[in-house]
């Protein structure tokens, strides 16, 4: 009798454990599902009310005007151009550092630089913003004064411009790009390198013509992750980019998708607030596309 009872008890406990664990596992599914629903439910109403042409393809952003206008074309363009430039600047440096860590570095030097990269990844994004604001912006301002000394039309920004934001973003994606591409370079089979060296290629030629091409899908994944990080970064660039809605030109004060939300969500109401959610939805769509690309790259890599 006693034995029977413990048996049912164990069985109940086992069953309960199974159910609880599966519930935990479904939290992630539920979270992604409800984030998607909420972003759509909050982002679409403004589009229906103001018209998608007025929002997505108009460049006039005057949310507080008598006849408000909510064109976010420049904001979208700024995010696209800013991310593209940041990746253009950050990826070569990151890839070369990864090559250094995986192939070229003597052991002790790699042991100094790898922790530095890890620490760079841990620095809060606001601190990057602070440094950009205190060091980069004054420098940019001096540059601006020199370049536009004779210009009548240029609006001076005090150095808070697209270029500053791009540099800060490029620095911020470095750790991601470095660590993922280093892993990809290390996964290249040593036989490949050995045969290249045996055929008379120099070590550097081997790196650039054998190892990097062989690791290309991993490096691509690193680039895509870097793009995702740059598109989604908010606080750092909101401190350095000046925050006016402008065409993304190097010395213009600009506003990104993320910084548009940060700078106005605090006080916006009504349609203005809904448009900010539309901006969030646009950002979310970008991120989901990047995620899709990333997972197809990773799948392709597995199949190889």
């Amino acid at each position: 009798m006693v034995r029977y009872r413990t048996d049912t008890r164990t069985r109940t406990v086992e069953k309960a454990a199974r159910i609880i664990f599966s519930l935990c596992a479904f939290t992630a599914v539920a979270a992604v599902f409800s984030i998607t629903i909420y972003m759509i439910a909050n982002g679409v109403p403004a589009v229906l009310q103001a018209g998608w042409k007025e929002i997505l393809f108009s460049s006039v952003w005057q949310p507080a005007a008598q006849e408000p206008s909510f064109g976010i074309l420049y904001v979208i363009l700024t995010s696209v151009v800013g991310t593209f430039l940041a990746v253009l600047l950050g990826v070569p440096i990151g890839l070369f550092t990864a090559v250094f860590l995986a192939e070229a570095a003597p052991g002790w030097l790699a042991a100094v630089i790898r922790p530095a990269v890890e620490l760079l990844a841990g620095i809060p994004s606001v601190i990057y913003g602070v440094l950009g604001m205190m060091i980069l912006n004054p420098f940019m301002y001096r540059l601006e004064q020199r370049i536009f000394a004779d210009s009548w039309t240029h609006q001076f920004t005090g150095g808070a411009n697209l270029l500053s934001a791009v540099i800060v973003l490029a620095v911020m994606i470095l750790p991601t790009v470095i660590s993922i591409s280093e892993a990809a370079l290390r996964a290249v089979p040593p036989e490949l390198k050995a045969s290249s060296l045996a055929l008379g290629a120099s070590p550097v030629e081997t790196i650039f013509q054998v190892t990097i091409p062989a690791a290309r899908s991993g490096i691509l994944a690193a680039v895509v992750l870097g793009v995702g990080r740059a598109v989604g970064e908010a606080m750092a660039i909101s401190l350095v980019s000046g925050n006016a809605v402008n065409l993304p030109l190097p010395f213009c004060s600009v506003r990104f998708l993320t910084t548009a939300i940060v700078s106005e969500m605090g006080y916006a109401g009504g349609l203005h607030r809904q448009v900010l959610f539309t901006i969030g939805l646009v950002l979310f769509v970008f991120i989901m596309m990047i995620n899709g690309i990333l997972s197809s790259i990773l799948k392709g890599e597995k199949r190889q």
């Binding site: 454990a17 664990f21 620095i123 992750l225």
Partner: protein, 284 residues
């Protein structure tokens, strides 16, 4: 010509690596030189008040601790549970792929989106408003993938013979998980937790519209409990706000404190991964 090309490329490789190194050293030196003069016992133990003429970050420190603890209390059990399910219960198939895909997606969503979602879901729909609890719920979704993935990796290193041996002796699955698998996976779980703490310490975009920016200390004993449903800005939020208000002294003081914390977290991760390396080595 070939030699020259090689040398130029090699030079670029070294330059890139040294750029990363000097970037870090530059950041550390700049922040510490500008920040340390402002850090004092007074700075750490008082609250900024115009009336009393004090400048301090005690309230933000307390908020940060609340945020870290609450987020971990929510995220760690769920994350571990999710990893246990994926590794020990689920059979490979559509369900596992869906869970792993959503976990990966979750880690790719930028924090500002988490902030928007947290604001409307936890803040408005669940009625928590601007509070530390809203922030903690939001952040726990954000750090969930970190904990799940690290626990999963650790569970994978536990040899199959442990499971079959224990089950063969008549132990139930839950008993095996509780007494054998989770203790063996401890270093991996700890790594996940430390990484999560680092992420929480540095987070700002997801907290600005969920946890708000309150910086006062509770006045009474009950206030310490009530604080969870009050607005509270972490150190990072205060740093951002001080920067916007051009209070650079406070900003650099906070930045130096934050960097010290991040530094400690990095050291801990290093120690833990050494330990993890040892345990897996020991078991062959």
């Amino acid at each position: 010509m070939r030699k020259l090309k090689d040398d130029v490329l090699l030079c670029l490789i070294y330059l890139a690596a040294f750029f990363a190194e000097f970037l870090l050293i530059g950041i550390l030196v700049y922040v510490f030189v500008k920040g340390f003069p402002h850090i004092s016992l007074h700075f750490l133990t008082t609250v900024t008040s115009v009336l009393e003429g004090t400048v301090g970050i005690a309230g933000n420190l307390v908020n940060t601790i609340y945020m870290v603890v609450l987020t971990l209390v929510i995220a760690v059990p769920v994350g571990i549970g999710s990893a246990v399910y994926l590794n020990e219960y689920a059979r490979p198939g559509k369900m596992v792929r869906l869970i792993e895909f959503t976990t990966q997606t979750l880690s790719g969503i930028p924090s500002i989106i988490f902030g928007l979602f947290g604001m409307v879901f936890f803040g408005v729909t669940l009625g928590l408003g601007y509070s530390i609890l809203t922030g903690a719920f939001t952040l726990s979704l954000m750090v969930l993938p970190l904990i799940t993935r690290n626990t999963q990796e650790a569970l994978k290193t536990v040899p199959e013979s442990y499971r079959s041996g224990a089950i063969g002796m008549g132990a139930g699955k839950w008993y095996v998980i509780r007494t054998i698998l989770l203790p063996s996976a401890m270093p991996g779980i700890m790594t996940g937790i430390v990484l999560a703490v680092g992420r929480i310490l540095g987070e700002s975009a997801a907290l600005l519209f969920t946890a708000g920016s309150g910086y006062f200390l509770p006045r009474s004993l009950g206030g310490w409990f009530h604080k969870m449903v009050e607005s509270g800005g972490t150190l990072t939020i205060q740093l951002y706000l001080s920067m916007e208000k051009a209070q650079y002294d406070i900003a650099f003081g906070i930045a130096a404190v934050l960097l010290c914390m991040v530094f400690c977290m990095n050291l801990l991760t290093g120690l833990l991964s050494n330990k993890l390396g040892d345990t897996t080595d020991g078991r062959g």
